[in-house]
Each structure stands twice: as structure tokens, then as C-alpha cells.
């Protein structure tokens, strides 16, 4: 901790910090989650905050942004101690926050959200035309194409995240706090965001930046403060650390290889899940491929490629047509329950909107999907508690007390809980949609090894991910989709970033590669 002062003086620009947090502590009820942390930001720099899930990063940012009042310590802005009554007061002082959890109003349009609380007036009316124009321009600079009159409810998570970013930068911002902004973004969008951040810092904006993606921190940040279990480990110049150093300081020990050694799929493994000419109206067209037993099948694609909707269609969450076979037998799942009974489980990419009951307890959330195992006919709360303890252990859910609502978990720990909930149904085919979203490196590694264990036990996995390294590290084969269609299936030596990107952007295109079923398709209407 004594290292903090010299570090901040040694900041790149040598300017005085615009904001200093001294000895910031935060407690929720009896549990203190942040212990006397010091932090400062200098205009024009990107100061990253790094730490495991539940280390207190979001909490620290929320203290700065006026969403929580620290239980001890003070915030000094421009040399003056300040007490923000609420986020509005902080925003008035130029501190703007992009939340880890989306903070848009679902029933308002994109434009209405961007300007909420800061409407422009003409003759007492909202000048919506001018606001729409500005929103369009803002989104254009973010290279995001969404209709500004659409309701946020109808946007995909990544689109909503871009709107959230647009909203933040539309404000008069001096200090921008970003909590895992790239969590739901893909590579291209992340690039766009980084360009924007560079513009802002050039204009003297200070940025506090939370992310689990160490390479991103390496790219964009100047300094990094590392937290562990609510304590500050230290503040460092990013240039002085490699990603491995960061990970080690964060986790407190060396991380061995991120990915388990790939075991080949047994020769002649039976296909367990076959998609044949599956169409999800509006999202996916004529998709065919097969998942073999004991295989990790990766699914790559850019935003809007339709991977999510494809599998939502397959398991009965949306209308879909075409043929699906499970273990060789034709199935038609009209409802996720049918798929569950067939041993197929799908992990949603939208944990807040579709994954967790944020106001309900951890136990209720954990057992919701496999409740028949805990209720025959009466819910066996003791058994549920035992399951919760086991899940917390197995998935390393970090939380001080087990009787809090799910919404009180840190983002990454929420994700672990959703995963634990899914696995309680003991599926033999798991479809994981962005499973490591918001998960720290240490835990990511655990999840990768967990997947390897599943495979070893004969479970098959579909891995939908926007992180290519993850796909390359885990998958046996990768299906690349673009615009709702399969553009190619890569395996072996073809499994590299260039090839996949070529397919994903539509530069390359293979004919459908499931000829075995071709005559069947012709036979059917």
C-alpha cells in the first residue's frame, strides 16, 4: 500500500490527479467488501482496475460514481473532498458510469435512453428530432447500426451495450468509469470502443476501466490497480507487467496453462445432436451440422450471426423449422422442458434478463431448472442447501453470505451461479452461450477444465463464444456463422483466427458440408 503514492506521482503525464479516493471502505450490512482502498486517476489516462470476481471492482467504481456512499474514507475531486448524495450529483461533477449490469430503461427507445435526464428542449417540448440526430451521429461514431426509435427491449445485449456507451459519452464527462464494457462486445466492437477511449483521453478525460480481459488492459490502460478480496494489492504501470504478471498478482499464485490438453474425439463417435436444415425465421436459415459424443463444437460468428437464436430455436424457445435429431432419433421440442427431458441444456447469454431471478435467493435460483429433483412433492430445503453448498464449492461462487438475493452477487459470480444451475439438470448435451462472460482469468481456467471433465465423462458441448482464443483452445471443430447461415466448418490446421474471421466476415464460404443428409432434405417438403 505504501507503493501507491510513488505510483501516482509517476503517472505518465505527470499531471495532478483529478480524482483521489482515500481509504475507501464499503460494507453491505455486516459484511465489508472493500477495505481502505486508495485510488487516483489523472486526466488523459486510463486507469484499469483488476481483480477476481467479487474482489470489489464494481463496488469501487460505484463509490466513485455516487451510487454507494463509502462506509469509510473520502473522495477528493480537484483537491476538494466531495460527498455525492447520489449518482446525479456525481454526474453533475462530470463522473459518468457505464454499468456492468445494463442500466437502460427497456421500454424507452434508444434515443430516449441516451438523453434520459438530459433532454433538449424547444418551446418546452423535447426536441426529439435533434436528439435523434445526435444519437444517430453518436452511434455512427461507434459504428453501431441500430434504429434509434427502437425500444431497448428489442435490442441484443451487445447492441444495448453500445447504446449504453453512447449514453455515457453523450454526457459532459470528465471521469468515465467503465465496468467491463467489452464483456458483451465482439472484437470489432471492442476496437471501436478503444478508438473512442483514445479520443476521450486525448481530450483530457480520465478513465477508470474494469475488465477481465488482460490483453485489453495491456492495450488500453496506462496504470492498473489490482484488488484481491477487497484489499488493494498495488498500483502498477501497465508497461511493467505482462498479462501473466497481472494474473499472478490478482490470483495470488501462478496460473498454469489456461487450457486443458485437448483429448481427441474417439474415432467413430456417434452424433448426439444433429441439426438438419434448421431455420429460425428472421435469424437463421438452413443450418445443418452435427455434434458428436464427447466433442466440443465451437460456434463462431460476429454479432448478429444468429448463433443464439439458432439454439433458442432448437430447444423450443422460439419457433423453428427443420429437423433435429437427438441420439439419432428425430425430435421436435416445443418447449425447453422437452429438451431438458431429452438431456439438452442451454445456457443463456443474457444472465440478467433470462438467467437469474435477481431478487430471489441463491438457493431458489440454483434449483429452479432442476426443481423436480428437489421437490417430490415438497421442496426439500435441506437438500437444496446441500446442493447450494456443493455448487458454491464446485463453481467457486464467492459470496460472504448465502442468504443474499442473486442480485447482490458480483457479475462474475452471477455467471457462475447460472452455470451451476444449468449443470444441476445433468444434461448430456450442453449448449454454452458465452459461458465465461464476466469471469476472471482464474475462474475461466477452472471453467475450461470443467468443460474438459464433462467431455471426459461423455458429455458433449456446443460452445458459442465471441472469444476466439477460447474457441481455439477448447473446441474440436468450429462452425462459423454469418448472417444466419453456416459459412464453414473448420477443424485441424484450419482452426486459426484468420480462417475463422474470413468465414465470419463472409470473405470465404463453403457449400453446406453435411452431404449425408442431402437426399433426406430433398425428400421432405
Amino acid at each position: 500500500m505504501t507503493r501507491t503514492e510513488p505510483d501516482s506521482l509517476a503517472s505518465r503525464s505527470g499531471l495532478a490527479p483529478v480524482l483521489v479516493g482515500r481509504g475507501l471502505s464499503m460494507a453491505f450490512g455486516p459484511v465489508e467488501v472493500l477495505h481502505a482502498v486508495d485510488i487516483d486517476v489523472v486526466p488523459g489516462e486510463v486507469h484499469a482496475v483488476l481483480g477476481e470476481n467479487g474482489a470489489g471492482k464494481s463496488t469501487l467504481l460505484k463509490l466513485v460514481g455516487g451510487y454507494h456512499t463509502p462506509t469509510a474514507g473520502e473522495i477528493v475531486l480537484d483537491g476538494e473532498p466531495v460527498h455525492f448524495r447520489d449518482s446525479t450529483a456525481a454526474e453533475a461533477a462530470g463522473i459518468v458510469m457505464i454499468h456492468q449490469e445494463l442500466s437502460l430503461v427497456p421500454d424507452l427507445t434508444v434515443e430516449e435512453n441516451v438523453f434520459l435526464g438530459h433532454e433538449r428542449h424547444r418551446f418546452g417540448f423535447v426536441d426529439y428530432r435533434s436528439q435523434q440526430r445526435s444519437t444517430r451521429e453518436l452511434l455512427a461514431t461507434l459504428r453501431t447500426r441500430v434504429d434509434v426509435t427502437r425500444r431497448v427491449r428489442q435490442l441484443s445485449v451487445s447492441q444495448a451495450q453500445m447504446v449504453e456507451i453512447a449514453k455515457a459519452v453523450s454526457r459532459d464527462v470528465r471521469i468515465l468509469c467503465m465496468d467491463e464494457p467489452t464483456d458483451v462486445l465482439t472484437g470489432t466492437e471492442t476496437e471501436v470502443l478503444f478508438d473512442l477511449v483514445r479520443h476521450l483521453t486525448d481530450d483530457g478525460v480520465a478513465v477508470l476501466y474494469v475488465s477481465h480481459k488482460l490483453d485489453e488492459i495491456k492495450t488500453i490502460a496506462d496504470r492498473v490497480t489490482i484488488l484481491r478480496d477487497g484489499d488493494k494489492v498495488g498500483t502498477f504501470q501497465v508497461g511493467d507487467l505482462t498479462p501473466t504478471d497481472m494474473a499472478r498478482r490478482m490470483v495470488g499464485r501462478d496460473l498454469a496453462d489456461m487450457y486443458p490438453a485437448k483429448q481427441p474425439v474417439p474415432e467413430g463417435a456417434e452424433p448426439v445432436l444433429e441439426l438438419d436444415d434448421v431455420t429460425v425465421p428472421g435469424h437463421a436459415e438452413g443450418v445443418s451440422f452435427a455434434l458428436r459424443k464427447g466433442e466440443v463444437l465451437g460456434l463462431a460468428g460476429l454479432v448478429g450471426a444468429g448463433r443464439t437464436e439458432l439454439f433458442e430455436g432448437v430447444i423450443g424457445l422460439r419457433p423453428a423449422s427443420g429437423r433435429v435429431r437427438k441420439d439419432g432419433a428425430r425430435v421436435h421440442w416445443r418447449h425447453p422442458e422437452d429438451a431438458k427431458h431429452a438431456g439438452v441444456a442451454y445456457l443463456t447469454e443474457d444472465r440478467k434478463g433470462k438467467g437469474l431471478l435477481l431478487r430471489s435467493g441463491l438457493r431458489e435460483n440454483l434449483t429452479l431448472q432442476a426443481l423436480e429433483r428437489f421437490a417430490r412433492p415438497f421442496t426439500d430445503i435441506r437438500k437444496e442447501r446441500a446442493a447450494l453448498h456443493r455448487a458454491v464449492e464446485e463453481f467457486d461462487v464467492r459470496v460472504a453470505r448465502l442468504d443474499v438475493p442473486a442480485g447482490a452477487l458480483s457479475g462474475g459470480n452471477q455467471q457462475k451461479l447460472v452455470l451451476a444451475k444449468l449443470m444441476l439438470t445433468t444434461p448430456d448435451v450442453v449448449i454454452l452461450d458465452e459461458p465465461t462472460r464476466g469471469i476472471d482469468v482464474g475462474t475461466k481456467r477452472q471453467i475450461y477444465f470443467y468443460v474438459a471433465e464433462l467431455i471426459a465423462k461423455g458429455t458433449s458441448v456446443v460452445l458459442i463464444s465471441s472469444e476466439l482464443p477460447e474457441l481455439l483452445g477448447l473446441a474440436h471443430r468450429i462452425v462459423v456463422m454469418q448472417d444466419g447461415r453456416v459459412k464453414g466448418i473448420v477443424e485441424g490446421d484450419d482452426m486459426n483466427e484468420e480462417t475463422i474471421m474470413a468465414y465470419a466476415t463472409g470473405l470465404r464460404h463453403d457449400p453446406p458440408s453435411v452431404p449425408a443428409r442431402a437426399e433426406v432434405r430433398r425428400g421432405a417438403v
Partner: protein
Amino acid sequence: MARSEAAPAPTWRRHMRSIPWQSLTPLLGLVFLLIIGSLLHPAFLTPTNLLNVLTRSAFIGIIAVGGTFVIIAGGIDLSVGSMAAFLAGAMILVMNALARNDLEPLTIILLGVGMVLVAGLLAGAANGLAITRGRIEAFIVTLGTLGIFRSLVTYLADGGTISLDFAIRGVYRPVYFGSFLGIPYPVWVFAAVAIIGAIVLHRTRFGRYVRAIGSNQEVARYASVRVERIRTLTFVIQGVCVAIAVILYVPRLGSASGSTGILWELEAIAAVIIGGTALKGGSGHIWGTVVGAIMLSFIGNVLNLTTAISEYLNGAVQGLIIIGAVFLQRGRSGR
């Protein structure tokens, strides 16, 4: 299936989608009613009848415009019917008292109108403040004030009826029965209230905040929206709308009693929900509410067209028509 059609479909579909069906579907129910009505009786489509029905729908319609704000912001107001009775009673008593002081009828009416607007505003504010300051659910507070207002009017009327002085009545009567350009005044007022309401809801900061609060109160609060104040204001708007409805109601029947406005709250809320506003709040529009209110009036009117149905079964037919009409427009209500 039907693969052959798949290719051209997207463009066609996209084209269809660009038409704002959403805002048209509420009309389907109304069209359905108009068709039924004209089949049942030739006199149904006469201007007199149509104007009669439109004029009637003005009371509930105006109240429902206010209710749209309340419901979109996530509240509910059960007290509107008895508030209307109370305001009508108070207005008549004030006007009668003034009449005894030898004032001009017109002055008296203007004073009465002013008084009732202020009283409506205060009554709405009382509801709103009890809900936001007292942190009690809107359902409970307005259930309570339902009883309170109804009792007060009964008390004022001494259990009977409060009647407007006949001298004033003559001057005031045209406000309901008169017309301008062939359209009765209440219809004009209804249209004006609806247009103002729509502008406020869709084109002002306040309207956006109302929708934001109903959709996600926490996010709204973070966006520096004064949630409590806005919610209170929705009830104030509701109160003023009730007052406007009363101003039109009093010249029609010239009296108020403990049974005035009974179950108007149900009709007003029904108009709002039929119009496509979600009972949970967040989204909705005035336009739908207007259609909903008119639809409800037409249902009553259509039932008077035929003698085929036992009058005991009126309510059943009414119920079936409501469900059927909303079913037709379910595209937008979904959930």
C-alpha cells in the same frame, strides 16, 4: 416448410413491418364493433347515434387519459369514480351557494369550473402524496380514498341527491348538449384533452420520465429523474382529468349523489388496458386509450340495438364482446 416462399418473404415482410401496425391494431376491435352495430340496426350508423356515443365516451375517455399516465408510471387509481361524484357534488353546492348571492349565472359557472379544477388537482395530489410520501401501494391508498370521496358526497348530499339550481342549469346545459361545427362540445373537449395528453406523454420530458419510471424505476432514479415527484404528478393529472370530466358531467344530469360515478374506475382502467397499456406500466399510449374508451361506449350502444337478447344476458354479451374485441388486437398486447 414452405421453402419456396421463403425467398421473397423477407422483403415483403420487412415492408409490412414498416407500417405502424402496432398503433393500428387497437382500431380493429372498434371496426369489429361498428360492423356488428350496422348489421344489427340501420339507425346505428346515423350521425346522431354516432355522435351520441362519442359524446358519452367523453367522461370515461377523459378520465382514462389521466389514468394512462398513472398506469404507465406503474400506479393505479381506483378512486376516480367516487372522486368524480365528490367533485360534482362539491361543484353543485358551491354554484348553488353562489346563486343565492345574486351573481350572474355565467360568472357562477366559471367560478364553479375554476373551483372544481383546483379541487381535482388537490384530490389527485392527496392520492399521489399519500402514495409517494407515505410509501403505501397505490392500490391501497386509492381504495381508501374511493371510500372517503364516496362517503363525503353522501354526507354532503345528506344521503340523497345534490341538485343544481335550475337557473344555472339553463345556462350551463349547452356545455353538454351544445355543439360547434356539428360536433358536441364534450367531443371537442375529449379531443383536446387527448391531444394535450398525447403531447405531454410523448413529447415532453415529463412524459418520458413517466414511461421511464414505469419501465424501470431504479434506472430512472439513476438518470436523475425525481421519481416521487413524477409519480405524484401523474395522480395530479388524473385528478385534473376527473375534474374536466365532471365539468362536462354536471350539465348533463344536473345532480350528484352517492351513486354517481359508481364503477367508473373499472371502466377507465379497462379503457386504458384495452388501449394497449400494460397494467404493470412502462409502455402505452393515449391514442389506444381513446380508442378503448370509445369502444366501451359502443359496446353499451350495440347492446341497446337489439331486443334479441334477454336483458339479463346483457352483461354476458358485453363481456364476450370485450374479450373478443381485445382478442382481435392481441397482436399488440401480447406480453
